[in-house]
């Protein structure tokens, strides 16, 4: 695992955490059949927070963040996103999904559409933005992730790192207030990991609220304001990165850190 992800100084001027609650999860439980994946999850995320979620495989990290935009349904407890409670009301779900961006491990770009079409699809159909305007926005964000010249290619012709940056740009085109990342770099080669992490750091510098499942501990140290450690469907420990890495409390966390950091 790379310890340091970026050599440049991170600009922390806009990384401010407000008192406004972005996500409020309380006593949330989820089962797959009879298997209890998430147990009594309590988590409050304030606007502007950058949270990294870590934990061994199968601990329920993906399931947790997928519950936040209802890709998975929880069975007990409550999740409130931006003041809207997630229920089975389809209107609420679509509203929350258009406010919350998500990036996946395998990008999930639409292979039959060009990069530009991938980025304008949701703004045009969900937000009803005129095509010209949506394209201008898309180009703006593609420039931001540094691939404007690929706009008319298809996803299949891009490298993994480029595809993941397109996926980030695609989410940003919906102007989300919260971004969720589920192991965005796990399917990538080391050089590509860096370009994607750089994009994510820039996003953090602009004050985006981010929840990130990742094994990139360097990123967690530098960018996160809070690290959450999960095991067996529960939040075992959470702390500021400095404390979390240097002074872990729970034996499970210690074991995990010693394995992942190779100490």
């Amino acid at each position: 695992m790379s310890e340091l992800t970026t050599d440049r100084e991170i600009d922390r001027s806009k990384m401010q955490i407000s008192d406004e609650v972005a996500i409020e999860i309380s006593k949330m439980n989820k089962w797959y059949g009879t298997f209890h994946v998430l147990r009594d999850i309590d988590l409050t995320v304030y606007r502007g927070e950058r949270i990294v979620i870590a934990g061994p495989s199968g601990s329920g990290k993906s399931t947790l963040i997928r519950c936040i935009n209802r890709l998975e349904e929880h069975q007990a407890g409550s999740i409130v996103v931006d003041g809207t409670e997630l229920s089975s009301d389809l209107k609420n779900i679509d509203k929350i999904r258009s406010e919350v961006g998500m990036c996946f491990q395998h990008f999930n770009l639409f292979p039959h559409l060009t990069i530009l079409e991938n980025c304008t699809l949701a703004p045009i159909w969900v937000r009803k933005v005129p095509k010209k305007e949506a394209e201008a926005t898309a180009m703006h964000f593609l420039e931001k992730v540094k691939i404007p010249d690929q706009a008319h290619k298809y996803p299949g012709m891009l490298s993994g790192g480029q595809q993941q940056r397109v996926a980030i740009a695609r989410s940003l085109c919906m102007k989300p207030r919260i971004m969720l990342f589920d192991e965005p770099t796990s399917a990538l080669d080391p050089e590509m990991i860096k370009e994607v992490l750089d994009t994510m750091i820039e996003l953090a510098e602009e004050g985006m609220t981010m929840l990130c499942v990742t094994h990139e501990m360097g990123f967690a140290r530098q960018v996160a304001n809070r690290v959450i450690f999960m095991d067996q469907g529960q939040i075992v420990e959470q702390n500021e990165p400095e404390e979390f890495f240097n002074n872990p409390q729970s034996p499970r966390t210690k074991l995990f850190l010693s394995q992942i950091l190779g100490h």
Binding site: H106, N108, V126
Partner: protein
Amino acid sequence: MSGVHAHTVAYVRDTMLDQKEPPSTSVGAIGWARQNLFSGWFNTILTIIVLGLVAFVLGNILPWIFSPTWNAASLSECREILAAAGSVSDHGTSGACWGVINERWVQLLFGFYPSHLYWRPILALVLLCVALAPILFASSVPAKLIYFSALYPFIFPWLLWGGTVWGPLAALAGVVIGYVVYSVLSERVNALLGLIVGVAAALIWWFVLSGYVVDGLSSILPIGLETVESRNFGGFMLSITIGVVAIACSLPLGIVLALGRQSDLMIVKYLCVGFIEFIRGVPLITLLFVASTLLNIFMPPGTNFDIILRVMIMATLFSSAYMAEVIRGGLAALPKGQYEGADSLGLDYWQAQRLVIMPQALKISIPGIVSTFIGMFKDTTLVSIIGLLDPLGLSNAIRADANWNGIVWELYGFIALLFFVICFAMSRYSMYLERRLRTDRR
């Protein structure tokens, strides 16, 4: 190890090599034949055997095909011509009797359609090509042409069956009424109610009101085409009519059934599964018999439900069940991530289906879809069994004619050729489409 280094000699190239032609044995016709036909003794032997077989078959068939009997008026006249030309074998004369095709090809194409009205099916066919162009070759024709494609379903039955012009216009008006009701209600109340009431309004218009309106209008302004009865339809025109309608309707119906089969709503799901499994479990010929005989029993007496229309409905239902399964295969091949990608962007179910899922699922299913189309088109020949005069039905009638009694190969060969041309065209088109839609590497 250091000894190796001692022997390494520094080397710098001072002249660059020019590009040379590849050796003649690897390019051109000779190179091709070498690589593909004579690479190794086993391939060489195979090539020689196959060439021999092809020569033998052609040597027997070609003389049969090139027989000077185009103008003969009966089978016996054919035999005289062939005997005079000296092509006689142990079994009598050998050679095709093309006179039957010369005399009957128009009938094989149009059935008993009145000959002074042949321009109507021909025009319908030409317009069909125009209407298909924006669908088949979207990138190379003006996009506005799609409006004509939308109108074509109303023009086409009117051209073929004739009757007053108010009929198709009233049918069109039903669509407009339904749409207006839908858009007003979905804005004021909600979309689902709008859809239900809109469809109901259109159905009421079509089945209850439009009859009176059409009668009234046509007695005031009797504009129209001469009516042609369904029993005069026949030949290849009938095959194409049934085939095109079944193909065009089965694709959307198949999509709906495939989606229904995957639905979370129990009732919808089991209705679709039941329909698909029932239709797939029953031979088409039984459905056609149901259409031709049984349906009349269930209809209120006196209703006149056109036989061709009944056959079209059965053929559509039949191929839509197969279509649904082919498309379900395409849906199953899509990674779950595509659904999640669409969901995470806030697209609703129908948007996700229309913009993300279906384009990809249909693309994956192109070979299966086209196979179903081709199968359907060939299955139209089954209508001869319930007494419709498609090319096969006509060929039986022709062979019953005293002049042509005993002719087999020429008629079936001609019919096979016509079917082959159309089916082959469909197959080539599907390959073109697959190439065009390939976006992974270009």
